[in-house]
C-alpha cells in the first residue's frame, strides 16, 4: 500500500539529483537540493507509517528544521555572490580550486 509513496519519493529524489547535477542556476540547484530533502522526508514518513512507530516522523521534523536553517544560510550566500559577481551560475564561482 505504501509502495506508491516510496516510488513517488524515489522519483522526487531522482528529479532533485539530476537537477543538482545538470542545472547551473544556483537558485535552481538549491531548490533541487530541497526537493531531495523532501523526498527523504516522504520516505521517512512512509516508513513510519508502515512500521507503526514515530521515529521516522520525528526525523522528518529534524530534516525540516535543518533544511530551514540551510535555506537561510544558503540563500544569503547566493545573494551575496550575485551582488558581487552579477551572476547566479554555479560555474562562475570556481575560484576555490587547485
Amino acid at each position: 500500500m505504501t509502495t506508491h509513496y516510496l516510488v513517488l519519493s524515489a522519483l522526487l529524489f531522482v528529479i532533485g539529483g539530476v537537477g543538482v547535477l545538470v542545472r547551473r542556476n544556483a537558485i535552481v540547484v538549491f531548490m533541487c537540493v530541497e526537493l531531495m530533502l523532501n523526498a527523504c522526508n516522504l520516505a521517512f514518513v512512509t516508513f513510519a507509517r508502515q512500521n507503526g512507530n514515530l521515529d521516522g516522523q520525528i526525523i522528518a521534523f529534524f530534516v525540516m528544521i535543518v533544511a530551514a536553517a540551510e535555506v537561510v544560510i544558503g540563500l544569503a550566500i547566493i545573494v551575496t555572490i550575485f551582488r558581487t559577481r552579477r551572476s547566479a551560475s554555479v560555474d562562475d564561482v570556481n575560484l576555490l580550486k587547485y
Partner: protein, 633 residues
C-alpha cells in the same frame, strides 16, 4: 742458538729508558707549540734533546753490558695502553740498543749539520721540531716491546717523513712526493696491520715476549701468512720492490732529511722488523724467509741499475740506498747466519751513506741547490773537506778493502753464498754495479772539467757542517772492522736474534771476495773511462733503451700509474657518478615521483561545484553497487 728469554727489569738507567723517547718528543712539542717565540733557540733545543737522548742511550748501553749475555733482554713495562689488547713497554736488548745508538748518534750529527744547512730557512725551528719528532717515533719503533707499539712508531716515522719530505711544501713537487711516500707506505702498513691482527688472533698477544712464550701452535699456513704480511710492511717502509717508488721522489725533502730518514734510519725499519720477528715468523728456509731473500736480491739489483743512470746526485744516492737495503734484506732472509751481518751493514751503511748524503748536501749548498751532476765537476779543489769525507764514504760503500763496507758487505756475500750460490753471485754482481755507479757519481762531481752554471761560486761549507762529516767518515773507516772481526757483533747480538751454532770465520781471500773486488774494480775503471777521463756532456745524451729504462726508475711509476692510479681515478669518478645519479638519484627520484603524482592528482579539484556533485553521485553509485554485489554473495 735461540734468542734469549725476555725478563722484566726496571732498575737503573734502564728503568727510565723512556726518557730516550720522551726527550726528543718534548723537544718537538715545545718547538711546535711554542711557535715563533722559540725561533731564536729552536735549533739549539732540537740538537740538545737529540744529544741528550744519545747520552741516555749510551748509559743504557753501558748498563746493559753489565748483564750476563744470556740475560740481556730486558722488558721495561710502562703503562696499560689498550686494556684487553696490549700494554706499552720497552724492550732493551742488543738489537734495539744497536738501533738506539745509531739513531741517536747519527741523528745528533745530522741535527748539528742541519744548523748550518738550514741556517737561511725561515722555518728552521719547525724543521728541528719535525726532526725531533722523527727521532722520537723511530726510537719508539725500535724500542717497543710489542707489535702495536712498533706500529705506532712505524706510522709515526711515516708522519715525520711526510712532514719533512714536504717541508718546502710551497713546491708542488715536494708536496706530491710527501703524499706519495705516505700513501705507498700505507699500502705496506696495510700488510703490517693485518699481520698484527693475525698474530693477535693466533697467539692472543701482540707483545714479543707473549708471542715467544705462547703455548699456541698456529698452522704453518698462518705463520707463513704472518711472515708475508710483515714483509709487505717492510717493503713499504724500506722501499723494497714492489713498493720502492716513493723513495726516489722523497729526495724532494731537505738533504739532512734524506740522510737521516731516507738513508740511515727510517728506511732500515723493514730490516729491523724482519730481524726482530725472524725467530718467530721467518725461520730459516721457510716460505716467508725465501720471499725476503727474493725481495732483497731483486731490490739490490733494481736499485743499483737505477743508480747507474741518474744525473740527480740525490736520486743516484737514493738508488744506492735501495740497493744497500736490498743487501740487508737478503742477509736477514737467510736466518741467524745473516742477522748480524744485516744489522752490521745497516749500521755501517748508516754512517757512510749519511756521510755521503750530507756531503751531497754540502755540495748542493755550495752550488746554489743545483742537484744535476752534469753541472758539477772538478769540485775536489774548492771543497777539500767535503771531497775527502765523501771519498771515504765512497770507498766504504764500494767495499774498498779494510773500510767498513768491505767487512759488512763481504760478510753478507759470504753468508749468502753458503746459503744459495745463485743469490750469492747475484749479490756479487750487485756489488760490481755499485762500483760503477758510485765511481760515476764521484767522478762526475769532484773530478773532470768544471761544468758549473755561470752564477755558481762553490766554497767549502762552515765547520758546523764539516765536523759531522768528519766524524761520520771516521765511523765509515773503522766501524766495519770493529764489528765484524772476531765476530764481535754477532756474539753481542746473539741474545736478541740468535746465531748459528758455528761462528763464521773471516776469509779475506775467498773466491767470492776476490770476485767481488775484481768486479768492483772493473766497474770503477769503466766509470773512469766514461766519466773521469772523457768529457761529460752538460745535457744528458739520449742514451740507449737500457739507460732510459733505468732513468725512468725501471718504469715503476709508469706501472703504478697504469695499474692503480688511472683505474683508481676511473673508479672514483664512477663512484661519485653512481652516488649522485644512482643512489641519490633514486632517493630524489622517489621524492620527485611522489611530488609529481600529487601535482597531477590535484588537478581533480577543478572548482566546478557540479563536477564535485557528479563525483559524489558516482561515488554513491559505486558504494550502492558494491553493497548489492557484496550483499548478494
Amino acid at each position: 742458538m735461540e734468542p734469549a728469554k725476555i725478563i722484566e727489569h726496571s732498575g737503573g738507567v734502564i728503568g727510565v729508558s723512556w726518557l730516550l723517547i720522551a726527550l726528543p718528543l718534548l723537544g718537538a712539542a715545545v718547538l711546535l707549540l711554542g711557535g715563533r717565540r722559540t725561533d731564536r733557540f729552536g735549533h739549539l733545543l732540537g740538537v740538545a734533546t737529540a744529544v741528550a737522548s744519545f747520552v741516555v742511550g749510551v748509559l743504557v748501553f753501558v748498563q746493559l753490558l753489565g748483564f750476563d749475555p744470556a740475560e740481556r733482554r730486558l722488558a721495561v713495562p710502562l703503562y696499560d695502553f689498550i686494556p684487553g689488547l696490549t700494554k706499552m713497554g720497552l724492550l732493551i736488548d742488543p738489537l734495539s740498543i744497536s738501533f738506539v745508538l745509531l739513531i741517536t748518534g747519527v741523528g745528533s750529527l745530522i741535527h748539528i749539520y742541519s744548523i748550518g744547512y738550514m741556517a737561511h730557512d725561515p722555518n728552521r725551528r719547525r724543521f728541528f721540531a719535525y726532526l725531533n719528532l722523527f727521532v722520537a717515533a723511530m726510537l719508539l719503533l725500535v724500542l717497543a716491546d710489542n707489535y702495536v707499539g712498533l706500529y705506532v712508531g712505524w706510522e709515526g716515522v711515516g708522519l715525520a717523513s711526510y712532514l719533512l719530505i714536504g717541508f718546502w711544501q710551497h713546491k708542488p713537487a715536494a708536496a706530491t712526493a710527501a703524499k706519495k711516500a705516505f700513501i705507498v707506505n700505507r699500502v705496506g702498513d696495510f700488510g703490517l696491520a693485518i699481520g698484527i691482527f693475525t698474530i693477535f688472533t693466533a697467539f692472543n698477544s701482540v707483545s714479543f715476549a707473549g708471542v715467544m712464550a705462547s703455548e699456541a701452535h698456529p698452522s704453518q699456513g698462518t705463520l707463513t701468512a704472518i711472515g708475508l704480511l710483515l714483509l709487505l710492511g717492510a717493503c713499504g717502509k724500506s722501499a723494497q720492490l714492489p713498493l720502492q717508488s716513493w723513495l726516489l721522489d722523497a729526495m724532494e725533502g731537505p738533504t739532512p732529511v734524506s740522510a737521516l730518514i731516507h738513508a740511515a734510519t727510517m728506511v732500515t725499519a723493514g730490516v729491523y722488523l724482519v730481524t726482530r720477528s725472524g725467530a718467530m715468523f721467518f725461520p730459516e728456509g721457510s716460505t716467508a724467509a725465501i720471499a725476503v731473500t727474493i725481495v732483497g736480491v731483486a731490490t739490490l739489483l733494481a736499485g743499483a741499475i737505477i743508480g747507474t743512470a741518474k744525473d740527480d746526485i740525490k736520486k743516484a744516492l737514493a738508488g744506492s740506498t735501495m740497493s744497500q737495503i736490498g743487501y740487508m734484506m737478503l742477509a736477514a732472509g737467510i736466518g741467524p747466519a745473516g742477522y748480524a751481518f744485516a744489522i752490521a751493514h745497516l749500521i755501517t751503511h748508516g754512517f757512510f751513506k749519511a756521510d755521503m748524503f750530507l756531503g751531497a748536501g754540502s755540495v748542493m749548498h755550495a752550488m746554489n741547490d743545483e742537484v744535476n751532476m752534469r753541472k758539477y765537476g772538478g769540485l775536489r779543489k774548492v771543497m777539500p773537506i767535503t771531497f775527502a769525507t765523501f771519498l771515504v764514504g765512497y770507498l766504504a760503500i764500494i767495499g774498498f778493502p779494510l773500510l767498513s763496507g768491505y767487512f759488512t758487505k763481504d760478510g753478507i756475500i759470504e753468508s749468502v753464498m753458503e746459503h744459495s750460490a745463485t743469490l750469492g753471485w747475484l749479490a756479487v754482481l750487485g756489488a760490481g754495479i755499485t762500483g760503477f755507479y758510485m765511481s760515476r757519481l764521484v767522478f762526475m762531481t769532484f773530478f773532470g772539467q768544471k761544468r758549473w752554471e755561470a752564477d755558481a761560486h762553490p766554497h767549502e761549507s762552515p765547520a758546523v757542517m764539516t765536523w759531522p762529516l768528519i766524524i761520520l767518515s771516521v765511523g765509515s773507516i773503522f766501524l766495519g772492522a770493529f764489528l765484524i772481526l772476531g765476530n764481535r757483533f754477532m756474539t753481542f747480538l746473539a741474545p736478541a736474534v740468535g746465531r748459528p751454532e758455528e761462528l763464521p770465520s773471516f776469509h779475506p781471500f775467498s773466491v767470492a771476495g776476490l770476485a767481488t773486488l775484481a768486479l768492483v774494480a772493473a766497474g770503477a775503471a769503466f766509470a773512469w773511462v766514461k766519466y773521469g777521463k772523457a768529457e761529460v756532456p752538460v745535457v744528458a745524451p739520449r742514451g740507449s733503451f737500457l739507460t732510459t729504462f733505468a732513468r725512468r726508475d725501471l718504469y715503476g711509476d709508469a706501472l703504478n700509474e697504469a695499474l692503480f692510479m688511472r683505474p683508481g681515478q676511473w673508479l672514483t669518478r664512477l663512484a661519485v657518478f653512481f652516488d649522485n645519479r644512482g643512489i641519490d638519484g633514486l632517493v630524489n627520484g622517489l621524492a620527485a615521483g611522489i611530488g609529481g603524482t600529487s601535482g597531477r592528482l590535484r588537478r581533480v579539484q577543478t572548482g566546478f561545484v557540479r563536477s564535485y556533485a557528479l563525483s559524489i553521485f558516482v561515488g554513491a553509485a559505486i558504494l550502492v553497487g558494491a553493497w548489492f554485489v557484496v550483499g548478494n554473495l
